[in-house]
Symmetry: C2
Subunit: 421 residues, 2 copies
């Protein structure tokens, strides 16, 4: 069995590599045509996709999946329309391939350009959100990459029905049908085999919960675009406007508590604790948020619970926040760098110097001044759709959109130059 799976995955990899060579040279028009045709095919195939999804839903219910998981798995006409619209939005983005990122001429006349090219083959490993099948395939197509998709076993039939629509559209646009492939088995060994295909896969994007990402980080021999956690902080400085601080903190924590850009820890400058701490803590509790605070935060509102050491490094993904008073911006930066996950941090202040110290000092992918951490999103950044958010420092940091799915090559034009010496 193991050998069979490895053979199957190697074959998938080899075909993806061959398709990637064609995709790297594919004209913009063909890629956009495939994306628009895929959107149309999703709409046409909606009844088939919903029927396949019903099969997954019945199996999921029988298996006792939680309500939240079943909701993620469920497809209906509105969700299929959102997928189709997503593909059309990707088609409307500028082609990231072929952009000249930098160019200069050497004294010897050599003209050097850094030109954007696709990464090659992208592997996406995700859980049971069938829409990722369409989103990830669309982003890879647009950026001239080939994709190997490995979705959760619970959404296998849904993803297969979506794939059928995508494949037909890709072929109709004259592009290689192997440009987007789905792992045709739910065997868990296929994930391990995929993580060893370093010859054929250039980057892996794990999308899912912490345990999935942790497994991929542990096993992968292939570079990853990933974030394990989003332990995001909002720091309210002594020079913060209280009303702005309240509005931003409430949004940063409570707009959606389950997203990676949600604030998990509120830091308040000791110099304004007297005036700012109580209004912030009480506002959060009034909004239904559990506050786990240090001594000062507990004093500020008797409904606050005590924080323990583990709270400072916990991603709640829920209506819970940890609150701490710190001695100014330097202490805030130290706390963020010690306990955070290098994702997204915000400072609220009217003072440019404090902002600069915070923005420069935090070793995180995204740092904000007077805005909500919930803006950590490729769409909100104006990058179009994103395949994920990276907290790594290599290559892609922050939202990973079509530009980040490209690398570059140096193209050097000469007139017969040889190197002396």
């Amino acid at each position: 069995m193991t050998t069979d799976i490895q053979t199957l995955m190697t074959d998938l990899g080899r075909r993806a590599r061959a398709a990637a060579r064609v995709m790297a040279l594919a004209p913009t028009a063909a890629k956009d045509q495939a994306l628009r045709a895929a959107a149309a095919a999703l709409r046409t195939d909606a009844p088939l996709i919903i029927a396949a999804n019903a099969k997954d839903m019945r199996a999921g219910e029988a298996k006792g999946l939680t309500k939240a998981l079943l909701d993620r798995l469920m497809l209906n006409p509105a969700r299929i329309e959102a997928m189709a619209k997503g593909l059309e939005d990707i088609a409307a983005l500028p082609d990231p391939v072929g952009r000249t990122l930098a160019g200069w001429t050497r004294p010897n006349g050599l003209a050097i350009a850094r030109v954007a090219v696709p990464l090659g083959v992208i592997g996406i490993i995700y859980e049971s959100r069938p829409n990722v099948t369409a989103d990830a395939a669309g982003l890879c197509l647009k950026s001239g990459n080939a994709a190997i998709l490995r979705g959760g076993s619970e959404s296998f039939h849904s993803s297969r029905a979506i794939m059928a629509a995508l494949s037909a559209a890709i072929a109709a646009a004259g592009l290689p049908v192997d440009a987007v492939q789905m792992v045709p088995t739910t065997d868990r060994e296929a994930v391990g085999a995929m993580l060893r295909l370093s010859e054929y896969i250039d980057v892996i994007v794990p999308r899912g919960g912490k345990s999935l990402v942790a497994r991929v980080v542990e096993e992968s021999r292939i570079p990853l675009f990933q974030h394990l956690e989003g332990i995001c902080h909002t720091y309210v400085d002594a020079a913060a406007d209280l009303e702005m601080a309240k509005a931003v903190v409430l949004n940063a924590k409570m707009r959606r508590t389950g997203v990676c850009g949600a604030t998990e820890t509120l830091l308040v400058d000791r110099a304004c604790a007297d005036t700012h701490l109580k209004p912030l803590v009480s506002m959060l509790i009034d909004a239904g948020c559990e506050v786990r605070g240090d001594h000062a935060a507990q004093q500020a509102d008797c409904r606050a619970l005590p924080a323990v050491e583990a709270d400072w490094s916990t991603e709640y993904l829920d209506s819970v926040i940890s609150v701490k008073v710190v001695d100014g911006v330097r202490a805030a930066v130290d706390h963020v760098n010690a306990y955070g996950s290098h994702h997204t941090e915000a400072i609220i202040t009217e003072e440019a110097k404090a902002a600069e110290a915070f923005l420069n000092g935090c070793d995180s992918a995204i740092v904000l001044w007077n805005a909500s951490t919930q803006f950590a999103d490729g769409g909100e950044f104006g990058m179009g759709a994103e395949i994920g958010i990276s907290t790594g420092k290599m290559h892609a940091r922050g939202p990973v959109g079509v530009e980040q799915l490209c690398t570059f090559k140096y193209v050097v034009k000469g007139a017969g130059q040889v190197r002396p010496g």
Copy 2:
């Protein structure tokens, strides 16, 4: 013993991380002052460094190191002056940190900027070239990173003497002395321990022979900037000017045969084999190069030897070249992508369409039109010194200079924006 080494390396890593936080915020003037002071210290300490090197040389001779290795190891006043000059050249480069790489404003007024920041901690693992100690330290300092250097055991005393000069200069400039640390043991276990320090080291640069790089690739849990091999190709197209082709091919192969940008395989278009093949093959043999050719190349000059399959994927690093006739530019691209190492490839042609097909089709870090593959070098690219050349696709591709030792962060400035919906 193992535990001691791991403890030692973890301590080194922790101190490097702390120093990196300071270095990331260090003013340009302090970094440049440290680099110039280090150059001065190398000159002042030259007698001490040469005495330490003599110790290494005696041990190397006793150990029976090859003449080539002893030559790499040897330091003299000219080589120390070259190291000092190298540091001054790095000081004269623009500061890569803090550059705004991109910036835009969103409809809601958020101002988003992508700003260059240091990677953090760079680990450099190298063999017995003591000059790497100064070069690598200089590049890391300039780019605001901390460095952990692990040189070859044969150059231990030389590197330690160079480090003493660097450390004094770093301290005198008011920068943390832990910004550049040297692994204080020649125990081979220290390399393994270093490759597991993913919490403290952001990227590893292995510099050395294939066996060193292969070991690092196999063991590292940390991203790498590396190239295993430079199997570089020059393709002479039907539309090549013969005289240019001869000059470029001779330089690409023979200028220096031991560098990674040296051409290892010459591909000649069948359409010009009648006119171009014999002059090229005979010229190479006349210049003292062994030619291992396919049937046509052997026919062109009876001194040519037969190539076997392994020749197409061999990096000779010597006066040896493999020569093959191919059916035009597409076949040349297929050969390069199948047998090459994604490093550097050149096409010689007067025809823009053929050049475009080759430049776009080759999946390599550097592609050249009418110029020698020996230009694959950060200095020749105008990037100043390089810490190495990367054939990976992630983050840095081609020469790795001070800009490539940076990553970026998104700095977002708002006026209290919260995310709707």
